[in-house]
Amino acid sequence: MTAWAALALIALATVPAAGLLAKARWTWRTPRAGIVLWQALGLAWGLATIGALVGFALEPLGRGVLHGLFLLPDDGSLLSLPRQLVLLAGMAFAGSLIGSLLLSGFRVLRARARHRALLRLIADRGMRADALVLDHPQAAAYCVPGVRSKIVISKGTLELLDDGELEAVLAHELAHARERHDLVLLPFTSLPRIGLVARILDSVALLIEMRADDRALRHRSPKELAKALLRFATAPSASAPSCALAVAHEGSAVMARVQRLLNPAPRPLLARSAALLTSVLLVLTPLALWSFH
């Protein structure tokens, strides 16, 4: 089998694999392995799709994808028109993936810069050493990720939670900041949020929350964190009816997080090792096929 055909098979196989992984529940017991597997699967999809298109186009040169690209300036005229078109499609696909990643990265940076500037103007820094406080009655707690991440809570949060619960929330947000979960999510948010991609995004976002919950447990008890979650989710809010769909989904996500805090399952060591090994293979195989001829 030629390298490009193998790459095409991998590219096609990643789609049903992503569907399965989005439904998987074992990842909830080892969220970090799940997150790594998602990243590897996404990378494999991109590498294999680009490699399959470019590999097919450059087949007559007989040097595989990577070498073929180097020969292109001299031998490009040897390719037939259909192959040249496929080459163009492969390049365009690669360009749009990288372009949308850069674009959404740029948007995120710009929105965050404004958010930080506003926080400097209006957030209360003196109230707590470990978080900025916003003067608003509704409960909110979040992290503005960056080189120097900031954790922000509202006055509504201070009233809603007791000390232990608040510490659990802060530990959760600190975990997001420390592990830069925003960067983990960025490649997935840069794709159009429809169909399978939307489900993948939800699935990765939930795993990230579970991972941050796990890290928060190093500092506070599961019960405190679960109570904080439940209080947050049931606190009155002025949510508009237009986002009812997102909110309806959110309820089951909160319930899933609470259930795994209250009834912890043993870590599936075998599944975890298998997931990590699969992740390595998922990235290395397309890369190997890129240079193979």
């Binding site: 995120v108 710009r110 929105a111 965050r112 404004r114 958010h115 500037a117 506003l118 926080l119 103007l121 209006i122 916003l134 003067d135 608003h136 509704q138 409960a139 909110a140 707690a141 979040y142 992290c143 503005v144 990720p145 922000v152 509202s154 947000e173 997001h176 900041a177 979960h181 925003d182 999510l185 948010t189 929350e209 941050a212 679960a226 109570k227 904080a228 979650l229 439940l230 209080r231 947050f232 989710a233 049931t234 606190a235 009155p236 809010s237 002025a238 949510s239 508009a240 986002c243 009812a244 997102a246 909110v247 309806a248 959110e250 309820g251 909160v254 319930m255 997080r257 609470v258 209250l262």
Partner: protein
């Protein structure tokens, strides 16, 4: 910014300097800060004689509301990619969650 929020009418750099007299800031520092805030669109400025007069583009409450909308993910703008602790839930699901909470207490 606090001073400008407290004032009803636009203020010049001279006005702000005077109000901050106890902070012992150089007049040029105040001018630079005002200029930077205006460039970021947090202040609107207009000519007042030979100087610029500044006023806040938005009330303090307006900015808090903007941040909270982003924080509660109601604005539909996930660009800031903030990591939220949890969003609020309504209806049957909220009732189910409330029952779990009651059992815990």
């Amino acid at each position: 910014m606090e001073i400008l929020w407290a004032r009803e009418e636009p203020a010049t750099a001279r006005d702000v300097s005077r109000a901050l007299a106890d902070r012992d800031l150089a007049h040029t520092t105040v001018m630079t800060v005002l200029d930077r805030l205006a460039k970021k669109d947090f202040l609107v400025r207009e000519r007042s004689g030979r100087a610029w007069a500044y006023r806040p583009a938005e009330s303090r409450e307006g900015y808090v509301a903007e941040l909270m909308l982003g924080a509660l993910a109601l604005s539909g703008d996930r660009d800031a990619a903030l990591a939220h602790f949890a969003r609020s839930v309504s209806g049957d699901e909220a009732a189910a969650l409330r029952r779990v909470l009651e059992n815990l207490e």
